[in-house]
C-alpha cells in the first residue's frame, strides 16, 4: 500500500488526495462530491457515452468527462459552474426528449437516476413537441427480465456487464443513431446466474424483473443489509421489505434482495440463487409452536422449551451421550454454534452431534460456491465436525433435537420416519414447514438468517457480522434465544439471569 503514489488536486475549492490512476469522478466521490453519471460503473472501464459527468478542468478548452479523466497533481476541477450545470441540463433534456412519461407506472420510480438528476439538475419545461420514437416496451430477454426500449437510454451497462462479468454476451446493440436498440439474439435469451444484476445496474426502468414488476413502490421498501446465507461466499446483500402500510397491519413481505457492496467478497454483484432466496424469508414459514399432542393449544416457546429441558434432565447423566442426539445445521451463526457447544458438548457431554445441510451444488466460477450453507467454517471453528447422521445412530436415541429440515434432503421421508418412530421425545426447531413437522413432538418456529443478527465465516475465512435485516414474524424466535433458554434451564448459566 505504501507504494501507491498519491496525487493532490482541487475539486470545487477542496483539496483532495487520490491514488495515482484514480478518475476525477472517483476522487470527487471520495471527497464527498457526487458527480452525476449514467453509463459509468465502478466495476467497468470508463465508457463515456452518457456525457452526464462533464466537468470543468482548468486549462482545458472544453468540458471533460470526470469518469475517464485521470487525476493529475495540481489539477483544478469545478463541478458546478454555469457551463457544467448547463451541460448536465442539456443531457437530461436530450434523454427526456425520447423518454416516455412512464413514471406513474414504472417500477424504477423513486430509485431512478433520470428522475433523481432531473429533480436536482433539471427542472426545465419540456421543449420536445415532435412524435417520439415508438419502440417495443415489453421485450422478454430471458430469466423473467423485461426490456422496455422506449425507456432505455443506451448507457450499455447491461451489454457490458454480460460481456465482462459473466462473459456470456447475450445482449447487443442493433441499428444505429436514434434507432439504436438493445436486444438478444433470437433464441439466445439471457441465461446465467447473474441476470438479476442487470436490473440493479440499469439506471432507469428499462430492464425490470417480472418478479418485482408492479408489486410495490421503491419508497415503501425498508432496506436491511445483511449477508446472504445460500452458499458460503457470504455476499453482502440488502433485503428490501415492507411491514404494515401499504400492506395490511402486521403483514410483512420481502419484495426483493439486491446486491450490497463489499470489495472483499462480491464487489457490487450477487447471484440469482441468492436473489431467489427472498422466497425463503416469506414462504412456507412456521409461525407457531405446535405440540403434536395438543395441536390446537397456543403455546409459548418458553413453556414448550421447558418440556424439552425436562426430557433432557430425565436422562441420567452417564446415559446422556448414548441417549440424546442433536442434529444441527451450518446456517447457525457463530454465536449460536458457540452456545450449542456450551450446551451440548460442554454442558451435556453429548457425542451424537450431527449436521444436516443442503446438498452441495455446482460452483459457477464467479460467486456461487459448491457449499450451499453460509457457515461451514464457523462450524469447524466452533470445534464441531460436520458429520451427517446415520439413521441407525439416531434411532437408538431417546431424545432428539433437530435444528432445520434438511435431513429430508439426505434420506427418504420413509427412512427418516422409520428411524424417528421409536424415539420418545423428538423436538424440531425449523423455519419452514416440512413433512418432518408431523413426526416431532413439539415444533418450534425459528428465524431465517435475514431475521437474525450474528456472524458467519465465509469460504475465504472472512468473519462477517450482520444485523437483523427484517423483523421475524410474531412468535418466531431465534436459535440463539432457544439455546440460551436451554442453557438456563439446564443450569449451565450459573449466576446469570434466566435466559428464557
Amino acid at each position: 500500500m505504501s507504494d501507491v503514489k498519491m496525487r493532490g488536486l482541487t475539486i470545487d475549492g477542496r483539496t483532495v488526495r487520490a491514488a495515482e490512476g484514480t478518475s476525477v469522478l472517483k476522487a470527487a466521490e471520495l471527497a464527498g462530491i457526487a458527480i452525476p453519471h449514467f453509463c459509468y460503473h465502478p466495476a467497468f472501464e470508463a465508457e463515456g457515452n452518457c456525457r452526464m459527468c462533464l466537468v470543468e478542468i482548468e486549462g482545458l478548452p472544453k468540458l471533460d468527462l470526470a469518469c475517464s479523466t485521470i487525476v493529475r497533481e495540481g489539477m483544478i476541477v469545478r463541478t458546478s459552474t454555469p457551463s457544467v450545470l448547463r451541460a448536465r441540463r442539456d443531457v437530461l433534456e436530450f434523454l427526456l426528449a425520447e423518454h416516455p412519461l412512464d413514471c406513474p407506472i414504472c417500477d424504477k420510480a423513486g430509485e431512478c437516476k433520470l428522475q433523481e438528476y432531473y429533480d436536482r439538475h433539471g427542472l426545465f419545461p419540456g421543449r420536445f413537441v415532435e412524435a417520439k420514437e415508438k419502440r417495443d416496451k415489453k421485450v422478454a430477454i430471458g430469466k423473467g427480465l423485461v426490456l422496455d426500449r422506449e425507456r432505455c437510454i443506451l448507457c450499455t451497462r447491461c451489454v457490458r456487464f454480460l460481456r465482462k462479468v459473466t462473459g456470456t454476451g447475450e445482449l447487443g446493440v442493433f441499428e444505429r443513431g436514434v434507432r439504436a436498440e438493445i436486444g438478444i439474439y433470437d433464441g439466445v435469451p439471457v441465461d446465467n446466474n447473474y441476470s438479476g444484476n442487470l436490473v440493479d445496474i440499469c439506471p432507469v426502468g428499462a430492464i425490470t424483473d417480472t418478479d418485482f414488476r408492479f408489486k410495490t413502490r421503491a419508497w415503501f421498501l425498508r432496506k436491511g443489509p445483511t449477508v446472504c446465507s445460500h452458499c458460503s461466499r457470504g455476499c453482502a446483500v440488502i433485503v428490501e421489505s415492507v411491514t404494515g402500510y401499504p400492506l395490511g397491519e402486521g403483514q410483512r413481505k420481502v419484495f426483493r434482495i439486491k446486491a450490497g457492496e463489499n470489495a472483499s467478497v462480491n464487489g457490487t454483484w450477487m447471484c440469482d440463487l441468492g436473489r431467489a432466496g427472498r422466497r425463503d424469508i416469506d414462504e412456507r414459514r412456521l409461525v407457531r409452536v405446535m405440540s403434536n399432542a395438543a395441536p390446537e393449544e397456543e403455546l409459548s416457546w418458553q413453556k414448550a422449551l421447558a418440556d424439552v429441558t425436562a426430557m433432557i434432565r430425565a436422562v441420567p447423566g452417564p446415559e446422556r451421550s448414548a441417549k440424546i442426539a442433536v442434529v444441527l445445521n451450518s446456517r447457525l451463526t457463530c454465536e449460536e454454534l458457540a452456545l450449542a457447544k456450551k450446551v451440548f458438548t460442554d454442558g451435556l457431554s453429548l457425542g451424537k452431534i450431527f449436521f444436516a445441510d443442503p446438498k452441495p451444488g455446482a460452483a459457477d466460477g464467479l460467486l456461487l460456491t459448491e457449499e450451499r450453507m453460509p457457515n461451514a467454517r464457523g462450524v469447524l471453528q466452533s470445534g464441531f465436525a460436520q458429520l451427517l447422521p446415520d439413521l441407525d445412530t439416531l434411532m437408538a436415541a431417546e431424545v432428539l433435537l433437530v435444528f432445520g429440515s434438511h435431513l429430508l434432503e439426505h434420506f427418504s421421508e420413509e427412512a427418516v420416519f422409520r428411524a424417528l418412530a421409536g424415539i420418545r421425545s423428538k423436538f424440531l426447531f425449523s423455519a419452514h414447514a416440512s413433512p418432518l413437522d408431523r413426526s416431532a413432538k413439539i415444533v418450534f418456529p425459528v428465524a431465517v438468517p435475514a431475521e437474525k443478527s450474528g456472524t458467519y465465516i465465509n469460504i475465504d475465512g472472512l468473519r462477517q457480522s450482520f444485523g437483523r435485516a427484517v423483523e421475524p414474524p410474531l412468535g418466531v424466535t431465534s436459535e440463539l434465544e432457544i439455546l440460551g433458554c436451554l442453557a438456563s434451564g439446564l443450569g449451565l448459566n450459573r449466576g446469570e439471569p434466566d435466559a428464557c
Binding site: G169, L171, G172, V173, F174, E175, R176, I184, D186, V188
Partner: protein, 160 residues
C-alpha cells in the same frame, strides 16, 4: 451446418481471413462476400459466419444492422441507389428520385412488385462533380437526367 456457399466464395473467404491478426476482424469483408453471392445475409449465414470467425451470432447481427450496405433480407435483383445529399439535391436529385419512383412503381419498401428492382435513396456517393448521381448494383452513373434514368430503367427491365 446445412448452410452452403459456393466453392469460389468459400475460397475467397479463406483468402479474406488470412491477413488479419485476429480472425474476427475479417467480419466486414466476409459479410460482403456472402452478400455478393446470396444477395443478403440470412440468419443461417449469421450462424455460419459466427462459427467461422469464432464470435457469437449476436455480434454478427450487431454489425449487420449497423452498416447500411448490408442486407438481412433479400432485395430486388437489381438495386438502384440515388444520392440525396447536397450537391445532388442542388442539381435535381429529387426530380430524378420522383421520376424513378413513378416509372418503377415501387412499393413502400422501395421494391417493384415483381421483386426485380429496388430503389433506395442514399447519402453522398463521393461523385459530386457528376451530380446528380446514382449507383446501379455499385456501378456509378453521373449527370443523370430524366432521359438517362428512363433509358437505364428500360435497359434493366429488358435484361430479364
Amino acid at each position: 451446418m446445412s448452410y452452403a456457399l459456393s466453392a469460389a466464395t468459400l475460397a475467397k473467404i479463406e483468402g479474406m481471413i488470412a491477413p488479419y491478426p485476429e480472425r474476427s476482424a475479417a467480419l466486414l469483408p466476409v459479410l460482403g462476400a456472402i452478400q455478393e453471392e446470396s444477395g443478403c445475409v440470412s440468419p443461417e449465414a449469421e450462424a455460419w459466419v459466427a462459427a467461422k470467425l469464432g464470435i457469437r451470432p449476436i455480434q454478427v447481427r450487431e454489425v449487420l444492422s449497423y452498416y447500411t450496405m448490408f442486407r438481412r433480407k433479400p432485395a430486388g435483383k437489381t438495386t438502384i441507389e440515388v444520392c440525396r445529399n447536397l450537391s445532388c439535391t442542388l442539381t435535381g436529385a429529387e426530380d430524378i428520385i420522383g421520376f424513378l419512383r413513378e416509372k418503377l412503381r415501387v412499393g413502400p419498401d422501395g421494391t417493384t412488385a415483381d421483386g426485380r428492382i429496388s430503389l433506395v435513396t442514399v447519402e453522398c456517393l463521393g461523385n459530386c462533380d457528376h451530380a446528380p448521381c446514382l449507383q446501379i448494383d455499385g456501378t456509378d452513373y453521373g449527370r443523370v437526367t430524366k432521359d438517362m434514368a428512363a433509358a437505364l430503367v428500360r435497359e434493366l427491365e429488358a435484361h430479364d
